[in-house]
């Protein structure tokens, strides 16, 4: 989100502006790059409708203006229309992040009359049936059907495609398809390596050459589609060696509520050791946002160590991503290892070198499903 909310530098933090309601971890798809936690099967106690309504009210009272409904697949919640209607009535700008699986004309109309402002349509899991993906037949049919529904309801067509080694060679066709579907905005989201994508990293990390070609193709399309479609190419931080200002700052703008009510600064923060995040069943959002240790721990720059402390870029990138630091350096206070100044940068360059060398992954690809979740996290 492009806001200029100030980072909390010793002062009381500003309000959460973005409330992300992850309504469920249930999903009809099995995407190998899914950002839901790999132990999602251990967090299946979903909040009730009444609890979600309270969360929406408390978030709005704190000052949140953007509300995202995501998952899993949020359309699997039968009370989605009720929650959207309440969010709209409270004055949120309401966004639904969905694969479109399960959307039909009746639900689209109900969501529209509930006041849903915007739908971001993501591509479904295409890797299980690579042939289908390559031909795009089923994907294209589903997306065109959903595209028609969006048009009927007056929503813009906003698409998101996660890009990885298994589809990056088809980026030209993907952009062409988005254009055929009348997309006004297309996000080409280079995979971020957390959760399931981290498990499958050796399968998903593209080569440096593939990325260079993909970016050149994207640039050419940008020129061709100027004024018709905006294309956003998410920076691949492993290859670019540039830490991202993750979530626009820890506990700065984003407040994620997981399906079981855990309140998190981002959807993957629960993995960090030594931090407890309260649930909305125990505490009010206000207490959680302003007072909980989980939200205060990595706010601002006070928690940093070297090389971040003396780095001239520390205010710009805030040391990168805490989850990535933990995953790659086993230390959530470390500099994000994608940064060349990090003593653990070798973990990133070795992963990229292995991708460039076309080394066959040692493990088979792992699909995101309940059985695998229980197997990985017994």
């Amino acid at each position: 989100m492009s806001t200029t909310a100030p980072a909390a530098a010793g002062d009381r933090p500003g309000p959460p502006l973005w409330l992300l309601a992850e309504l469920t971890y249930r999903c009809p798809l099995h995407c190998v790059f899914c950002y839901n936690p790999i132990d999602f099967a251990r967090h299946e106690q979903e909040l009730s409708t009444a609890e979600w309504l309270r969360v929406l009210r408390e978030g709005r009272a704190l000052g949140a203006v953007q509300c995202g409904f995501s998952g899993g697949e949020p359309l699997l919640r039968e009370d989605l229309e009720i929650l959207v209607a309440e969010a709209h009535a409270l004055g949120y700008y309401t966004n639904l992040l969905t694969s479109g699986v399960g959307l039909n004309e009746v639900r689209a109309a109900a969501l529209r009359s509930a006041g849903l402002d915007h739908i971001q349509l993501s591509f479904q899991d295409s890797t299980r049936e690579l042939n289908d993906f390559l031909s795009h037949t089923k994907t294209f049919e589903l997306k065109s059907r959903v595209g028609e529904m969006l048009k009927t309801q007056g929503w813009p067509m906003v698409m998101n495609v996660v890009i990885h080694r298994l589809n990056i060679e088809h980026i030209d066709r993907i952009i062409a398809m988005a254009d055929e579907l009348g997309a006004s905005y297309l996000e080409l989201a280079n995979t971020q390596y957390y959760s399931w994508a981290q498990v499958n990293r050796a399968h998903l990390l593209p080569t440096s050459d593939q990325l260079r070609r993909a970016e050149a193709i994207t640039d050419a399309w940008r020129r061709r589609l100027e004024g018709r479609m905006k294309i956003f190419f998410v920076a691949p931080d492993y290859h670019e060696g540039k830490p991202k200002k993750c979530m626009n700052g820890w506990g700065n703008v984003f407040l994620t509520i997981a399906p079981d009510g855990s309140a998190l600064p981002c959807h993957t923060a629960r993995m960090l050791p030594g931090l407890r995040f309260p649930t909305v069943r125990e505490r009010s959002l206000k207490e959680i946002w302003y007072e909980s240790e989980g939200f205060n721990r990595y706010r601002g720059t006070g928690w940093m160590k070297e090389p971040c402390v003396s780095c001239p870029d520390k205010q710009n990138d805030l040391g990168g991503c805490r989850c990535q630091a933990y995953l790659l350096a086993q230390d959530p206070q470390a500099a994000d290892p994608v940064c060349p100044k990090s003593p653990d940068h070798g973990t990133v360059t070795r992963a990229v070198a292995a991708a460039d060398a076309d080394q066959a992954p040692a493990q088979p690809i792992v699909f995101r499903d309940r059985a695998n979740s229980l197997k990985l996290c017994p």
């Binding site: 492009s2 806001t3 000052g63 203006v65 700008y93 402002d117 813009p156």
Partner: protein, 90 residues
């Protein structure tokens, strides 16, 4: 923008303007994003309802702030806002 008596500025499709008490300012909301507006931008956009001509928007602002000669400033801001696709000048 040579015909302020004909131009009817309005927010672009999918954009919403609202006053946010927690931030003490007007914000412009759009899919997954937000722009915080300074006071004059908020006051101008609050009057871009698609029914009020640019000429009247300027007149209303001049009355509200008890001043004169805002036309160039307002037109310049709206051109920038249109370049950002926040408003449509039709």
């Amino acid at each position: 923008m040579t015909t302020p008596d004909r131009v009817l500025p309005r927010l672009a499709h999918g954009f919403r303007l609202q006053w946010e008490e927690a931030q003490g300012c007007h914000v412009l909301l759009y899919p997954e994003g937000m722009v915080k507006l300074n006071r004059s931008a908020g006051e101008i956009l609050a009057r871009c309802d698609g029914r009020t001509t640019l000429e009247h928007v300027v007149a209303q602002l001049e009355t509200a702030f008890d001043t004169k000669g805002l036309d160039a400033e307002v037109a310049k801001f709206l051109e920038l806002a249109a370049a950002q696709h926040w408003v449509e000048l039709t």
